[in-house]
């Protein structure tokens, strides 16, 4: 090769090489997988919901990917354990966001972790929060899917009052913000339905003996008990409640009694027990039945039981997809601008986003042995005023 040719070729090669990264990057970007951090409790007290959450999220990811992904990009889910203290959960999310290149987050965890995450994200990355919660989240970039107290109670308390004759309510919950905020909302609806609150009590998480509470409930003459105890406390309370023979005469309503809790309460202790939620494994609509069939076909007949918390991760993926497609972008600001009015259809029915929350169907179920039977569906229930 002559010297001049060599220089020419070299320059040409260099030019191509210099131009190429841009071209290659751009093409690669379109086909680049979209990393989505899926934040679920895989350990800790809420670890019980880890398997159903992960299954449901994976099912949604597979379906969205089969339909072409989000904006043409395949979702690559990264599951992160957030059944840990908020500071650790926030660290894990930061690592995935800045280090791992995650472009969106879907979270099914407690409010303490949510507070840490909204503080971390500061509206710079889209974040869908899926579980039942106390209401009032309005941070930019945050999209709330879960049932608020207004949704779970506004239609349900009047129904329980008229159908079950509930007029004297006793409110009992664990001592933290979700039960207290839920009961604050409940008091308004109880008063509107013509009822009165005859007792209110909050228990520490360590409580495992409910005898004194049951004696007070009996003494108060309550004919309805509103339960915001969670997990094991709810199981222990409801078992003792029934063993004292209170189940026959007193109606129970819970806003976080899902399938696992009911299994622990047991068939013989579940008489007159009601639960209000956006999802039950036994909802009798074509969409919900098809979803349950797909779930058990994919993960086996003995997969973790379907429940409102786990299933919310499925809807979380659908909502992220819907907002991003409407905005035509995964940019947090563009999504925030487009979010209002976004709607999608899932196993829970149709949901429409407004002011970072969704209006959706609410189901009231009554325990029938160790299973739930939906007794009433309330359509398109508004989430109440959450942003100021």
């Amino acid at each position: 090769m002559k010297r001049r040719d060599f220089i020419k070729t070299s320059i040409a090669t260099a030019a191509v090489a210099a131009a190429a990264p841009g071209v290659l990057l751009k093409r690669a970007h379109a086909a680049d997988p979209l990393k989505v951090g899926i934040l679920i409790p895989l350990s800790g007290p809420a670890g019980l919901f880890g398997p159903s959450s992960q299954n449901c999220a994976q099912l949604a990811v597979d379906e969205v990917n089969a339909g072409g992904g989000i904006l043409g990009r395949m979702i690559e889910p990264v599951y992160v354990d957030v059944g840990v203290p908020p500071a650790e959960a926030s660290q894990a999310a930061l690592k995935l966001w800045k280090g791992g290149g995650a472009e969106a987050f879907i979270g099914m965890h407690d409010s303490a972790v949510r507070g840490a995450l909204t503080n971390l994200f500061k509206g710079q990355v889209p974040y869908v929060y899926t579980p039942v919660y106390e209401g009032g989240e309005c941070s930019p970039g945050t999209y709330v899917l879960g049932e608020t107290p207004a949704q779970q109670l506004a239609p349900v308390i009047p129904w329980i009052a008229s159908e079950k004759g509930a007029s004297k309510w006793y409110l009992i919950g664990n001592d933290y913000n979700w039960p207290r905020d839920t009961n604050a909302a409940a008091k308004g609806y109880i008063a509107e339905s013509g009822g009165e609150v005859v007792g209110e009590e909050y228990l520490p998480f360590t409580a495992d003996n409910f005898d004194s509470n049951l004696a007070k409930i009996k003494d108060s003459g309550a004919n309805a008990v509103m339960i915001t105890l969670v997990g094991g406390a709810s199981v222990g309370f409801n078992r003792a409640f029934a063993s004292f023979g209170l189940a026959d005469s007193v109606t129970r309503l819970g806003t976080l009694i899902e399938e696992n809790t009911l299994a622990g309460i047991g068939a013989e202790n579940s008489k007159n027990l009601h639960s209000s939620a956006g999802y039950f494994g036994s909802i009798d609509t074509p969409a919900a039945k098809a979803f349950a069939e797909k779930y058990f076909a994919k993960f086996g007949a003995d997969a973790a039981a379907l429940n409102a918390l786990g299933q919310s991760c499925y809807d979380g993926v659908l909502l992220l997809d819907a907002i991003a497609e409407k905005a035509g972008s995964l940019d947090a600001a563009a999504m925030d601008a487009a979010a209002d009015g976004t709607s999608y259809e899932g196993p829970r029915g149709k949901a429409t986003m407004n002011a970072r929350h969704v209006s959706k169907d609410i189901y009231l179920a009554e325990a029938d042995g160790a299973a739930f039977k939906v007794v009433q569906t309330f359509s398109d229930v508004a989430p109440g005023n959450n942003c100021g």
Partner: protein, 283 residues
């Protein structure tokens, strides 16, 4: 009046069940000096024995021999592999049995899953006593525990084995010198202790939540009772159960559950501070 009768029965129930739960720990910690942090997991093993029996469609009562057998086997293995090397090293037993507790919890989780399980009450319904509708199973349970403690007390006071245990506890070297096989006696005592925890698990299982982490509930209150009641005697155990159960019941009734739990902590701290040997300790 009805309310006072209810609280009275609740107090008796709390004291009786706490006494049953703490019995095994009192034996293992009070006599052998082993701080068994896996005590609650043996209670859980009992509860899961009831679950196995229920799943097999056998009568509830069959869970008792199963739980005793299961706990005895696990207890024997644990004593042989871990505990016997650690007698007279209480802090090391605490660490070793805490590790064992984690292992047992995870073992139960692998075998039965994280989910809550429900054990049916064989005797359901309520009985009217002193004008109060009280759960029939609870009344039966209280009677059973009373009989168990009377038998145990009589046996420990009169039997040769009871005397040998007392001799071993007071002076192990001298006991060995007069021909008592202290290694074997310690092993039997440990196995007896964890087996009563299993029995407590069976008997309580229809009333409580059953899940792999249930044992943690029983550990803390058991230690509180021993702190208050003192180590090494049945009387101390019963007094401790009555004080802890009574404080919780009365204060929870007068104020709320948070106050009840706090007063249990305060009582325990005061005892540790002012009367570290408890109300009725050995010697």
């Amino acid at each position: 009046m009805e309310l006072i009768a209810t609280y009275g029965l609740n107090f008796l129930y709390a004291a009786a069940t706490l006494g049953l739960i703490v019995l095994g720990l009192a034996v293992v910690f009070g006599l052998l000096g082993v701080m068994n942090m896996a005590h609650g997991e043996f209670v859980a093993l009992g509860a899961y024995s009831a679950l196995i029996v229920q799943q097999q469609g056998l009568p509830f009562i069959a869970a008792i021999p199963l739980a005793l057998l299961l706990c005895a086997i696990v207890g024997w293995l644990v004593e042989w592999s871990i505990i016997r090397h650690l007698y007279k090293r209480p802090f090391d037993t605490l660490l070793a049995t805490w590790g064992l507790a984690i292992l047992m919890r995870k073992g139960i989780e692998v075998a039965f899953g994280r989910e809550y399980k429900s054990i049916d009450q064989t005797i359901s319904g309520t009985v009217n006593l002193l004008g109060v509708d009280y759960p029939a199973y609870r009344l039966l349970l209280m009677a059973l525990i009373l009989v168990l403690f009377i038998l145990l007390f009589a046996w420990y006071q009169r039997s040769n084995t009871g005397s040998r245990i007392k001799a071993m506890v007071q002076n192990p070297e001298l006991a060995a010198a007069v021909g008592i096989d202290t290694a074997r006696l310690s092993r039997s005592t440990f196995i007896f202790g964890v087996s009563t925890a299993g029995l407590a698990g069976v008997l309580l299982s229809p009333l409580v939540r059953v899940e792999p982490y249930m044992g943690l509930d029983y550990l803390l209150s058991s230690f509180f009772i021993l702190v208050v009641g003192g180590l090494g005697t049945l009387e101390g155990l019963l007094i401790g159960s009555a004080v802890i159960g009574g404080t919780d019941t009365i204060i929870s009734a007068m104020f709320d559950k948070t106050a009840g739990y706090m007063s249990v902590l305060v009582v325990s701290i005061l005892f540790l501070w002012l009367r570290p040997d408890g109300i009725h300790a050995r010697r």
